[in-house]
């Protein structure tokens, strides 16, 4: 509600463009936009100078690919990905590989535990320039050993990009303490609006970046002879900003500040564990990964052995339960798991154990009626 109210206040009371014009409304809009940057960057333990607004984690990763890697990598340089990545962290690298001739290596997952094969990672990281890894799998809810990955990558001379879209709602990510070079974040997974996110970038990496979107706002001076650009994050925020969305996201992190993230993680983890336990008792249901692990984070992927996933999703929807179905934008992971799709139930701070029980009860009824 506070997110909607904050966005509504912007539209009804001081709707104006930011960073331009010197009237009161523009000043208020700019103050609110930059105030949100302050709240969000503080939430992630870093300075506003290291935060670039984007449309979400996808654009943030593309900004690393086309802003940093295109300017700094060349033929034969190595980028390490994992089989667990979201398409947003695969396709930009495949495209850049075609353009620049970079080599893309994939770290496999251990199919027994659905975790990253860290032995394979240690081999893959040798000679790499960049490691791109998902903080927490959006399919399995499994958190990767980011601290170890950052240490191994930096020892090998590689920078690290972490896709924190799924991890940020479940765990306090302190960017400055983490030593991560680039962190991609989406607001909509943490109570904020859709269409807004950010890239957190270390300043020493930011100075190596070139803008891949150019135009208004990001320039210092434009003449017919050429243009000069702003410095810092302003160089990468082209055009009219997503002002209302940023303000809404700021309100969301201010709201989240009332909780300890460890409490949220513990609550969500207990719900996922309960769901996995109850679902495990339903005939024909397979739960992937182990949501009862401490480092799990609220996403429970499952399949029934005879009810196809799309059918199951529709039948669950009849009971008022919205589950995501399909490949979850992670087809390489689906291939590794040997399934075309899964159903996924996700839980967060607003869910209760009663809702989990009610979900499992409806699932059980659907299975007994339709299988």
């Amino acid at each position: 509600m506070c997110v909607i109210e904050a966005m509504s206040r912007y539209y009804t009371e001081y709707n104006s463009n930011a960073h331009r014009a010197n009237h009161t409304l523009a000043d208020e809009a700019t103050t609110a936009l930059e105030g949100a940057r302050g709240s969000i960057s503080r939430f992630f333990g870093t300075s506003p100078k290291q935060m670039i607004y984007t449309s979400g984690a996808t654009e943030a990763i593309n900004l690393v690919a086309y802003g940093w890697a295109r300017a700094n990598l060349s033929d034969g340089d190595v980028v390490v990905l994992t089989e667990m990545e979201h398409h947003a962290d695969i396709v930009p690298w495949q495209e850049l590989s075609k353009e620049k001739g970079i080599e893309v290596r994939y770290v496999p997952i251990d199919l027994q535990y659905f975790t990253l094969d860290m032995d394979a990672f240690e081999v893959a990281v040798q000679g790499a320039s960049l490691v791109c890894v998902v903080h927490t799998s959006n399919v399995l809810g499994i958190r990767n050993p980011i601290e170890e990955i950052v240490e191994l990558s930096h020892s090998a001379g590689a920078r690290v990009l972490v896709d924190c879209a799924q991890g940020a709602p479940h765990e306090m990510i302190n960017f400055d303490l983490s030593n991560i070079d680039f962190a991609a974040i989406s607001a909509h997974k943490m109570g904020g609006p859709t269409g807004i996110g950010c890239l957190l970038v270390r300043l020493d990496a930011m100075v190596q970046m070139r803008p891949f979107l150019t135009g208004g706002s990001m320039i210092k001076k434009v003449s017919t002879e050429g243009s000069t650009f702003q410095e810092g994050h302003a160089m990468f925020e082209t055009g009219t900003p997503r002002i209302a969305e940023a303000i809404g996201w700021g309100a969301a992190v201010d709201w989240l500040d009332q909780f300890e993230m460890t409490e949220i993680h513990s609550h969500v983890n207990s719900l996922a564990a309960l769901a996995a336990e109850l679902m495990g008792n339903i005939p024909g249901i397979t739960v992937f990964g182990d949501p009862q692990r401490n480092d799990s984070s609220g996403a429970v992927s499952f399949l029934h052995d005879s009810i196809q996933s799309q059918d199951l999703a529709l039948l669950l929807d009849e009971g008022g339960f919205a589950v995501r179905t399909g490949h979850h934008c992670a087809q390489p992971l689906m291939d590794a798991m040997g399934v075309p799709s899964t159903n996924r139930a996700s839980f967060w701070v607003y869910n209760t154990s009663e809702e989990v029980s009610s979900f499992a009860k409806h699932l059980s009824e659907v299975v007994s009626r339709f299988s």
Binding site: I307, Q308, Q310, D311, D317
Partner: protein, 144 residues
């Protein structure tokens, strides 16, 4: 009694059966039964990119032809039971008709059965995509 719409007479009993369902879950049960009693008439090895119905959330494939007597033949299969059930009913509706009649057919029967209102918009669109593909194929066969 459901108000008679623009569909072939041989569908009346099916329309009646579905429209009499207590709720959408019962309707889905019936679709599952139709899927079970009318499994894919197109062997899975014949499911190709060319005969895939695009716009369905699940995989669905159709192949249309005309018999020596000029009767329309729809063969199709889907990986989801609900889509397979819809495919079965569509096959029952169109098989044996002249391609011109198939091309001119409307999806009124699905409305009368309560199917389109039960489905989520994306599912309803998926059904319509399948139905429109069948009509399009009928149009091509009519020209031949």
């Amino acid at each position: 009694m459901t108000e008679r719409g623009d569909w072939p007479q041989h569908l009346d009993s099916i329309v009646e059966e579905f429209s009499g369902c207590f709720d959408s879950m019962e309707r889905y049960e019936l679709l599952f039964q139709y899927a079970k009693s009318h499994p894919s008439s197109l062997p899975q090895e014949d499911w190709t990119e060319e005969n895939q119905v695009h716009g369905c959330q699940s995989r669905a494939h159709i192949e249309c032809s005309v018999s020596e007597k000029g009767q329309f033949i729809l063969r199709g299969g889907a990986d989801a039971q609900i889509v397979q059930g819809l495919m079965a009913i569509t096959s029952i509706a169109v098989n044996g008709m002249h391609p011109k009649e198939v091309r001119q057919m409307t999806p009124d029967f699905a409305d009368a059965m309560g199917i389109r209102s039960s489905l989520t918009p994306s599912r309803a669109n998926g059904f319509l995509n399948m139905f429109n593909s069948v009509r399009e194929e009928a149009g091509k066969l009519e020209v031949k």
